[in-house]
């Protein structure tokens, strides 16, 4: 059951990672007319169209992660402490903090993509997207590494 939840959590995280990366690249390096390379096509998306999906995927990944975290605390963390993986636990601690702070950003992020705040050129929207993108990438990498350290099914 825990393994199934962890895999589902990972799959949702992959979908979220793809969506937010599309959006971040589209706002920072919008593609010109006539995309040619794969990179051009990757960022030639309508970033606003991703906002709702990102909010739903972020919330789903956070809820699944919150459930899996209960099992991590009981079954995994004691092994990490015994093996003195303090850095991994520290990075994981930060993942928790960042994910929570990201949850609080979701309403503003979603609304800003519907109608940007009155700051001229949508700087707030770009900044919110970038912060969320950083949180998602951080969480994905740390979660992935921590999972690899323990090993599947061990």
């Amino acid at each position: 059951m825990t393994t199934a939840l962890l895999i589902l959590h990972g799959l949702v995280a992959v979908a979220l990672l793809g969506a937010i990366t599309h959006q971040v690249l589209a706002v920072w390096a919008p593609s010109g007319a006539g995309p040619r390379s794969v990179f051009d096509r990757f960022r030639a998306v309508q970033p606003a169209g991703f906002a709702t999906a990102i909010v739903v995927l972020y919330a789903a990944a956070a809820v699944l992660g919150a459930i899996v975290y209960l099992f991590f605390k009981i079954d995994i963390q004691p092994d990490f402490e015994r093996d003195r993986h303090w850095h991994a636990l520290g990075f994981f601690d930060l993942k928790e903090d960042f994910v929570s702070i990201g949850l609080g950003l979701l309403p503003a992020y979603w609304i800003s993509w519907r109608r940007p705040f009155a700051d001229g050129r949508g700087h707030t929207t770009v900044a919110l997207t970038t912060v969320l993108g950083f949180i998602v990438w951080w969480s994905f990498l740390v979660g992935h590494v921590v999972n690899d350290m323990k090993g599947f099914g061990s």
Partner: protein
Amino acid sequence: MTFAPPFRRFALAFGTAFGPMYLLARVKGLALFTVYPSLGILLPGMHRSRDTVDPVLDFLAPEMFWYGWTATAALGALAIGLIAALAPACWSRYFWSGWVWVAPLLAMMACVYLTIPWFRQ
């Protein structure tokens, strides 16, 4: 789809307040509840296992504050968001919308500082 200005003010205030509220909850130990996953219980407020059992035994009932900190931050940010939504619209012109990403970013940096002890072990 458009949103009524009060809802926009709510989202802006909620997003701005959540990060600092989370940081406050984390620093001051203001967890709304504590979860004991191995026992399957949830206690209101912040409780440490070592306060009730011998510290060498607290691994038997590890406590989790993260859920409680998040709930505290959500509650605090909700209150601030509601105040912003109900406040006169003209007040919002004194509020820089950039705070909605600057405040969480500062809270994240402070969380990095709070995590340093893990890296000194």
